[in-house]
């Protein structure tokens, strides 16, 4: 017979205010199997834990029930406490009387009664608990980083620095991500390329880092420490080993009218291209949508000019399989499409641009060589209007995003300042709803834009942009001035909301990592575990988790790397002992469980059983690999003979809980 101890926590007043803790410990002391019951102010405190340990020794307890906060909070704490006192950690059950009782009820009598019932259910369960020992599984000491922007590069560099191998999978022909398109960075105004490209080179030259550019993750199998990932290496139609990146082909290709994605379509490039001069790896890629040779079989100019013989028109996508212990998601963001915001005339006038397009228009390597010119007539704009929050902070529906995109206030201040500095003859208006600048030296930066550079910050929104006679007539609200403004502008710059990259959603499904309604990855805990996904072994870096600027992204990338390193230094991981187990005497070998197992943890063996009269009987039975089983329990329900059960959540235990609640 078990000897159960019950410990009711007050959690200060969090529980005690709506649950009569004394009455609960009293009531539960009368339950069958309970030999000791008490309550205390903070069970999770040092003193509380010592009290539990003392009670275990004194009353020779075999099982413990803690009535406290959610098991998601302190189950592990109390398991360790009991382990130190010499009882198996899996002989502990938590009755959640805080999140699921005291915090949701106001009436003390109601709360107390419910707490007693929840306590009874936990006691009923623990009476059927059995000691469990966790197995271990080995850790593959190599990490995968998905996405090669600044987040992915930083994570990979930090992991490699600790001596582990790390692969980067990047869907574009080069790593570098959005930061390669940015001209200057706030709040220091240093050149983005100057700080990013050395990192890209570091990553390429680091012998621990392998870059799979122009590649995508195709499938993910396995679990923490043991992932098997299929990577699709898309056909570049250029042999990566042979291409020297000389760029001759990109100058000779006769197909000149390909919109240049790197410059956001503001100019054109050839069908064979290297996105930009500092691309890593610096290898040419043929754009199959535009290449005349690939489409019609006639041309072949690039092949003729290539002295290295790297062009291969017959190249196919290849699939490779790699093994990893940890996966970091760094898929980043994109500005949203602005089709639904045509009151700003984005699709009517080339002079209405997004902020990212403006970055290209101001970049020395951009389509205008760094001189700010209107896309329509290549003249110098004298009046610019910036519109903030285009598509951010919207209320539901199909239009826009409900969240603040976070980076726009600062980059708009940066743009406004740079334009006023370089072209003092311009007038710059910024229409804002709120200026949000929480960050080191951020507000000072914004104030400089207003006070030193004379940027006109106007509280209000733009309602309509009317292109007419080469001008953009901007109708806007000046809420503090109490007027409807009509500004004759030369350019309008829209701070488009940012959204997670479209590749993130299918990736999340492959990784079984959860996402929020906006397709940002959710973290394991919003405050305490910000760089881990709730799925073990999956880590989050950069804007895939939420809008972020560069300093924040780099900080998070480093944090994600440290978590990966913490995982990879381990030789073995302790497995979850709450796994399925088949009772071989009851198993009839029907394979129902095998079919529903998502992990392939169940195999069948033929085993000899003793029959009557010294005969033997060969029977096919199921066997669970405890290192692979994740403990979902799908098989337990599929099993028609009731042979399959789940340790820690057995049929008997759950039935006992049901009985206790319905009593």
């Amino acid at each position: 017979m078990q000897r159960i101890g019950v410990f009711v926590c007050w959690c200060g007043s969090n529980i005690a205010a709506t649950v009569d803790v004394e009455a609960v410990s009293q009531a539960l002391s009368h339950e069958a199997g309970v030999v000791f019951s008490t309550n205390y102010q903070y069970m999770c405190s040092q003193a509380g834990q010592e009290m539990i340990q003392a009670a275990i020794h004194e009353h020779r307890l075999t099982g413990v029930v803690i009535c406290s906060c959610s098991p998601r909070m302190h189950e592990n704490t109390f398991r360790k406490t009991c382990e130190r006192a010499g009882i198996n950690p899996y002989m502990v059950e938590i009755a959640n009387i805080r999140e699921q009782c005291s915090w949701i009820h106001k009436d003390k009598a109601v709360g107390t009664e419910k707490a007693i019932i929840l306590g009874r259910a936990a006691i009923a369960k623990v009476l059927l608990n059995a000691p469990l020992t966790a197995g271990t599984s080995p850790v593959t000491k190599r990490a995968l980083v998905i996405g090669g922007g600044i987040a992915g590069i930083q994570t990979a560099l930090d992991i490699a620095d600790a001596g582990f191998e790390v692969d980067i999978v990047e869907k574009e022909p080069t790593i570098g991500g959005k930061m390669t398109q940015i001209d200057k960075t706030f709040p220091t105004l240093d050149c983005a390329a100057c700080i990013l490209t050395p990192k890209m080179v570091d990553a390429a030259q680091n012998e621990k880092i392998k870059i799979y550019a122009y590649s995508q993750v195709e499938a993910v199998k396995g679990f923490v420490g043991n992932f098997t990932v299929t990577i699709r290496r898309k056909a570049r139609y250029v042999d990566e080993e042979k291409c020297t990146g000389c760029g001759l082909c990109t100058e000779k290709c006769p197909q000149k009218k390909v919109p240049n994605a790197f410059n956001l379509g503001l100019d054109t490039r050839r069908a064979i291209y290297i996105p930009f001069a500092q691309a890593v790896p610096k290898i040419a890629t043929i754009d199959a949508d535009y290449c005349t040779m690939l489409k019609t079989g006639k041309c072949g100019v690039c092949s003729k000019v290539c002295t290295a013989g790297a062009i291969d028109y017959h190249q196919q996508d290849t699939l490779i399989e790699e093994h990893y212990g940890a996966i970091v998601v760094a898929t980043g963001y994109n500005p949203i499409q602005l089709d639904q915001f045509d009151e700003f005339a984005y699709s009517h006038s080339p002079d209405v641009v997004t902020s990212l397009e403006l970055e290209r228009l101001m970049n020395a390597a951009g389509p205008t060589g760094g001189t700010l010119l209107r896309p329509s007539d290549k003249t110098h704009p004298h009046t610019l209007v910036f519109v903030q929050c285009v598509g951010s902070r919207c209320d539901g529906g199909e239009k826009g995003k409900p969240y603040c995109s976070k980076i726009c206030c600062m980059y708009t201040a940066k743009h406004a300042m740079l334009i006023r500095e370089k072209y003092p003859d311009t007038e710059v208006y910024v229409f804002y709803i709120d200026v949000r600048t929480p960050g080191k030296n951020f507000d000072e930066f914004y104030r400089r834009a207003v006070e030193e550079y004379g940027v006109h910050y106007i509280k209000g929104m733009v309602g309509k942009v009317t292109p007419q006679n080469g001008k953009l007539y901007v109708q806007a609200a000046d809420l503090l001035g109490g007027q409807q403004l009509k500004i004759e502008a030369d350019m309008v710059v829209l701070a488009a909301a940012i959204e997670p990259d479209k590749s993130a959603r299918p990736l999340a499904t492959m990784l079984t990592a959860s996402m929020d309604t906006n397709d940002f990855f959710t973290e394991a805990h919003p405050k305490l575990r910000p760089v881990e996904s709730p799925t073990a072994g999956i880590f989050l870096s950069g804007a895939c988790q939420g809008p972020k600027d560069i300093p924040e992204t780099v900080a998070q990338a480093g944090a994600a790397a440290s978590k990966v390193i913490g995982l990879l230094v381990k030789d073995h991981l302790v497995c979850n002992p709450c796994v399925a187990e088949s009772n071989e005497l009851m198993c009839n070998g029907c394979s129902a469980c095998e079919k529903v197992c998502p992990y392939g943890a169940i195999t069948y063996i033929d085993k000899e059983f003793r029959g009557p009269n010294r005969t033997t009987l060969l029977r096919r039975i199921a066997q669970v690999n405890p290192a692979v089983c994740q403990g979902c329990g799908a098989c337990t329900v599929a099993c028609p003979s009731g042979a399959m059960d789940l340790k820690g959540f057995s049929n008997g235990q759950i039935m006992a809980e049901v009985d206790a609640i319905c009593r």
């Binding site: 239009k399 509280k459 929104m461 309602g463 806007a476 809420l479």
Partner: protein, 126 residues
């Protein structure tokens, strides 16, 4: 006055507290110059129970019901629906019709479509 705010909310189906005070309604309103209270102020005044002032304003008869503010509001607040609700609060009172049938003949002209008269009558009287 809170009851009146409730009435406006019920008639319009709009929660003025959703407004984030961006001013896009005011920026977009074609009747801005004609109104003493501009759309964003209108929303704010409803939210703060300042209905008497609104009910006495001429602007409520000058909203075009063009739905530009409704369409472009990022928070789905529908300032135009609030204007309609306040106007109804006025004209549903006795003898408060803004347009009386006997005034109509004077307004008629050869090319004026019936639609204009009917619309105005619908908008301006009980």
């Amino acid at each position: 006055m809170n009851d009146a705010v409730e009435t406006v909310r019920r008639i319009s189906g709009v929660n003025p507290l959703k407004c984030m005070k961006c001013g896009k309604c005011t920026a977009t309103c074609p009747a801005y110059d004609e109104m003493e209270y501009h759309p964003h102020q209108f929303v704010d005044m409803v939210a703060n129970g300042r209905l008497e002032e609104l009910m006495g304003s001429k602007g409520i008869y000058l909203c075009l019901s063009c739905f530009a503010c409704v369409e472009r509001c990022p928070r789905n607040v529908k300032p135009g629906a609030l204007v309609e609700a306040v106007r109804l609060m006025v004209i549903r009172q006795q003898e408060q019709n803004h347009l009386k049938p006997q005034e109509i003949p004077a307004l008629l002209e050869e090319s004026l479509p019936q639609q204009a008269i009917t619309s105005a009558l619908r908008k301006y009287r009980r």
